[in-house]
């Protein structure tokens, strides 16, 4: 890039972008580990934690400045902890102050292991405490939440029920105001504030009012300590035991980037994954809670005529139905990956005049909220549109009489609109591929369990024309379950029209061949942050993700 400027960090010239927070330049271009508590990339700068202190050369020699508020400018001279003893000492001082009134309860703290305070303390803290027993924390929160600790001192609330989803531990709070700024500037609903002053300052909602917002759980992510914790994850898992894969929100067409965190074959939480072009650092509570569905009401095997059956039996039955069919209606789904839909499309093509493919959804589309939801619940609507599958479910309803087999994958038609779906009962053989037991599997003559979104690898195209990857966590409730594309591939083999696909990439290659916009796009080139294949502005009128 030609617009880089040169700054000097610890006597070393570094090329950095102009007018960005110095802390970003230090961390990224200069590779100087710079701690921060209050600074967050996607929030306004507050500059109150003071741990990111550096020395900046000014007219009167080097002076202290905080690197989060300082913007990069040509010729800026910076001294960090590497070349300045003063910075080392002062940061230790700040760390000591942070810990003076912070409890030593890491063993019971959910944040332990991913706690910014813990990390920086281990990195450069004052390991020898100078705190005196007689000079402990002097904390007074709200009267209702005071308690007497083992040392006989009055303390703030340890477990304040802030609202439906969050618990506040007042004495862990280091008043960085990240959560306050999130609620003010991102959620645009000022529900949190800091009250009091000096070391009596405390985080609170208006007394008696809850913290209750569709995005409030993001405050637990950005909380640099364990002060705000989500009720859903309190005391569930130690975070260092969790493994994770990168994925996206499968319930919304923005495809907010997330990580799926699992352990022992179970998903324990979904965390937002920063993508400046999609969802910044935020996800909706609704998205975050999707993991709970992964263990609930799953179709772990198959159903034939509403009775439990093995997967193998169901494959045979379905294969037979398709083989004997005169005319098959295949229904693709925007809730499944592009790969799954590619398989349905490939099968339809192989079947030739015997089959016809339908697409679309009966779910209603809302308005984007400007943060991390587009309002369209059909996550991969764009993907099936690109594959050339028309939005023509109405056609199917009108012409239901023409078909004798219905193959519907991952599309709960009966739940979306039972009245319209009733017309499909006239089709004698109804095969449903589904991760969950739902109205469609109940209405199906053959229902085959498939892997859910967190358990498959594949792509979706968000409504702004961005291809994004889902990755598979090894958490399928039944290891024998297959992703939908593989089930379709099996069915095709059963009727002698084998697709012969062994991996997701085979399905993707098929899609690439079909869709000119996918040309040259590989899983590797999609990467963790996705790849824009259409001009975002042209693709959609709605804003991508807003924030600050």
């Amino acid at each position: 890039m030609s617009d880089l400027i040169t700054i000097n960090v610890d006597g070393r010239d570094v090329q950095v972008p102009p007018r960005v927070p110095l802390i970003e330049a230090l961390r990224q271009q200069a590779a100087v580990e710079t701690p921060a508590f209050c600074y967050h990339q996607d929030l306004k700068v507050a500059g109150n934690c003071r741990i990111c202190l550096v020395e900046i050369e000014g007219p009167r020699g080097f002076a202290l400045a905080i690197s989060c508020h300082q913007q990069t400018a040509p010729g800026l001279k910076v001294r960090t902890q590497i070349s300045s003893e003063k910075i080392v000492k002062l940061r230790k001082g700040v760390m000591e102050f942070l810990l003076v009134n912070h409890p030593l309860d890491c063993p019971i703290c959910d944040k332990a292991g991913e706690c910014t305070l813990q990390e920086h303390y281990m990195g450069q803290g004052r390991h020898e405490s100078r705190l005196d027993d007689a000079v402990g924390k002097q904390y007074k929160g709200l009267a209702d939440f005071r308690f007497i600790d083992a040392k006989g001192a009055e303390r703030g609330g340890k477990k304040i029920d802030l609202g439906p989803s969050i618990v506040l531990d007042q004495e862990r709070c280091i008043i960085c105001t990240r959560c306050v700024r999130f609620m003010d500037d991102v959620a645009k609903s000022s529900q949190l504030g800091v009250a009091g002053r000096g070391d009596h300052a405390y985080l609170t909602t208006f007394p008696g009012k809850p913290l209750d917002h569709a995005y409030d759980l993001n405050t637990t992510d950005i909380c640099p300590v364990g002060a705000l914790t989500g009720k859903h994850f309190r005391f569930q898992q130690r975070v260092w035991l969790l493994k994770s894969v990168e994925s996206i929100d499968p319930s919304d067409a923005l495809g907010a980037n997330i990580t799926v965190e699992y352990n022992n074959g179970q998903v324990w939480r979904l965390m937002p994954r920063r993508n400046p072009d999609v969802n910044k650092s935020w996800i909706a509570n609704r998205t975050r809670m999707l993991y709970q569905e992964l263990n609930r009401n799953r179709l772990t095997d198959a159903l034939i005529a509403a009775a439990d059956a093995t997967l193998d039996d169901a494959y045979v039955a379905a294969g037979k139905a398709i083989a004997e069919a005169k005319k098959i209606a295949v229904v693709a789904s925007g809730h499944l990956t592009t790969e799954d839909n590619a398989a349905l499309l490939a099968l339809t093509e192989k079947l030739g005049a015997k089959a016809e493919i339908f697409g679309g959804s009966w779910l209603s589309v809302g308005a984007p909220d400007g943060i991390a939801l587009s309002g369209d619940p059909v996550a991969n609507r764009k993907g099936i549109e690109l594959l050339g599958i028309a939005d023509n479910l109405e056609d199917l309803v009108r012409r239901a009489g023409e078909f004798d087999v219905l193959l519907v994958a991952g599309n709960d038609l009966w739940a979306a609109d039972a009245v319209k779906a009733a017309a499909l009962h006239s089709i004698p053989a109804r095969i449903a591929l589904s991760s969950w037991r739902n109205a469609t599997t109940a209405a199906a003559t053959i229902a085959i369990g498939i892997r859910a979104w967190a358990e498959v690898r594949g792509t979706m195209v968000n409504r702004n024309g961005r291809v994004q990857m889902l990755n598979a966590a090894p958490t399928a409730p039944n290891p024998a379950l297959d992703p939908a594309w593989l089930v379709v591939s099996r069915l095709s083999a059963a009727i002698g029209l084998s697709l012969n696909w062994a991996a997701e990439s085979d399905a993707w290659r098929f899609a690439v061949a079909k869709v000119p916009q996918f040309a040259g796009v590989t899983y590797r080139s999609i990467g963790p942050l996705g790849r824009q294949i259409q001009n975002a502005a042209a693709a959609v009128a709605a804003p991508i993700a807003a924030g600050v």
Binding site: R50, F97, V100, N101, D132, V135, Q138, A150, I174
Partner: protein, 448 residues
């Protein structure tokens, strides 16, 4: 005859006349009313003397006068004014800082009580010089009588056509509103005050941008102390030279000093800058007992011991050379009967109480120092506690957004350095002062 408790100043001292630039009306009965004030020359400048001058001339005039901010920092006023961008398309605000709260300072209270019209006159001149349409006086919440007096004076000025639209027949219009604070020392800090004016918590803002560029309501704003602005009418009337007849080359003019503590006649005095502290003590009735030390400029200013006090003169440079500051001009001498440890304890408590709680070092540090000091005073101090306090003060001295933390650190550092033996005596009261610190984590019940 009633004499004025707040203002016991004689007209002459050692054969020389004392200045009455700011205090001309302090001893006049009903000097706070427009009629009386006008008889004594108030608003003489509001006419051709002002309206025939351009903004540029006025700012240059104040620059030349060498007037410096009287609130504490001593920043050259004319230079502050010159930072205000003109024609930025945004309104320019003048905010008067009357949030007098620095322990030891009580001059602004007297100014507003005795001569509100001089402040209004100064504000009209300043407002004209800066292009201000709306000005605010931010008055400390505790000073309700002064607020009432200001409001009365403003009402009189409106009625006389000295405020509102087309002041005294000119093209210039100005409205002045009094804004009542609600009890927070930190609102005396320029940006804290602006935040408080805007209805936020009075927590100082990150700089840059500086208020001169983006202050109140994100518009250019000048914040000046009451006393600073009250000097402006005199400067306009008598010119920079007239103002410079008082004071020293680098600290010209006169200043109101509030003196309290172990002194014969505590009160507010207007004296030329550059006067020796010992002379000032003589003027104010002499130190009671034997001088031990003196806080030369409000509680934030590093304390001077007796020797330094004898050398010091009342101007910015002399005190800077002694590593202290003139601050708000609050002089607090204390004698050998005073225990400097207890003195510092009240100061430390003050700063712990008044820290706004925004930046970590100040929020936690001031409270921490306060508690350790309490422990020492209670006779439970251990060896190393005094060094700990000093080290904590060093840690928060320059690491925060505003100048509150240095102001809280300086008294701690200076008292400990200059009166160390007094502190050590407190440690000696603890029979176990040499014992090692008991490690909390080794005791049962450390986790709860």
């Amino acid at each position: 005859m009633t004499t004025l408790a707040g203002f016991p100043q004689p007209t002459h001292f050692k054969g020389k006349e004392l200045p009455t630039i700011l205090s001309s009306l302090f001893l006049v009965d009903n000097g706070h009313t427009l009629d009386v004030a006008r008889k004594h020359g108030a608003y003489a400048t509001i006419g051709p003397m002002l309206f025939e001058k351009s903004q540029f001339e006025l700012i240059e005039l104040v620059k030349d006068s060498g007037l410096r901010g009287r609130g504490g920092a001593g920043f050259p006023t004319g230079m502050k004014w010159s930072f205000v961008p003109r024609n930025s398309g945004k309104p320019v605000y003048l905010v008067i800082n009357a949030d007098e709260g620095e322990p030891g300072t009580f001059k602004d209270r007297l100014c507003m009580t005795r001569d509100p019209h001089k402040l209004i006159e100064g504000m009209i001149i300043t407002g004209y010089a800066l292009g201000v349409r709306t000005a605010y006086i931010y008055v400390r919440g505790e000073m309700l009588p002064q607020i009432k007096r200001l409001n009365d004076a403003i009402g009189e000025a409106y009625a006389a056509g000295l405020l509102g639209e087309n002041i005294a027949g000119s093209n210039y219009s100005l409205d002045i509103y009094v804004h009542r604070g609600a009890g927070a020392y930190i609102c005396g800090e320029e940006t804290g005050l602006i935040n408080s004016l805007e209805g936020y918590k009075g927590q100082p803002r990150l700089k840059p941008p500086f208020p001169a560029v983006s202050g109140a309501f994100a518009a250019p704003t000048v914040v000046n102390n009451v006393e600073t602005i009250m000097a402006v009418p005199y400067i306009l009337q008598h010119g920079a030279k007239g103002y410079r007849q008082w004071g020293t080359e680098k600290s010209p003019g006169s200043k109101l000093f509030s003196i309290s503590g172990d002194i014969g006649k505590p009160g507010v005095y207007e004296v030329p800058l550059g006067m020796a502290y010992m002379d000032f003590f003589e003027l104010a009735g002499g130190v009671k007992g034997e001088l031990l030390g003196c806080i030369p400029g409000g509680s934030s200013a590093p304390v001077l011991n007796a020797e330094e006090t004898k050398k010091a003169t009342m101007d910015y440079e002399s005190l800077a050379s002694l590593k202290s500051m003139l601050g708000s001009g609050a002089v607090t001498p204390f004698n050998t009967d005073v225990d400097p440890v207890l003195y510092l304890q009240t100061i430390a408590r003050f700063y712990a109480h008044e820290s706004c709680g925004q930046c970590t070092p100040c929020r936690e540090g001031t409270g921490y120092v306060d508690r350790v000091l309490d422990k020492v005073v209670a006779g439970k101090g251990r060896d190393g506690d005094i060094d700990l306090i000093k080290d904590l003060a060093d840690s928060y001295e320059w690491t925060t957004i505003c100048a509150f933390a240095p102001g809280a650190a300086w008294p701690v550092q200076s008292f400990i350095t200059k009166f160390r033996s007094h502190f050590d005596k407190y440690l000696a009261r603890n029979p176990e002062h040499a014992h090692e610190r008991e490690l909390v984590a080794t005791r049962p019940g450390a986790f709860w």
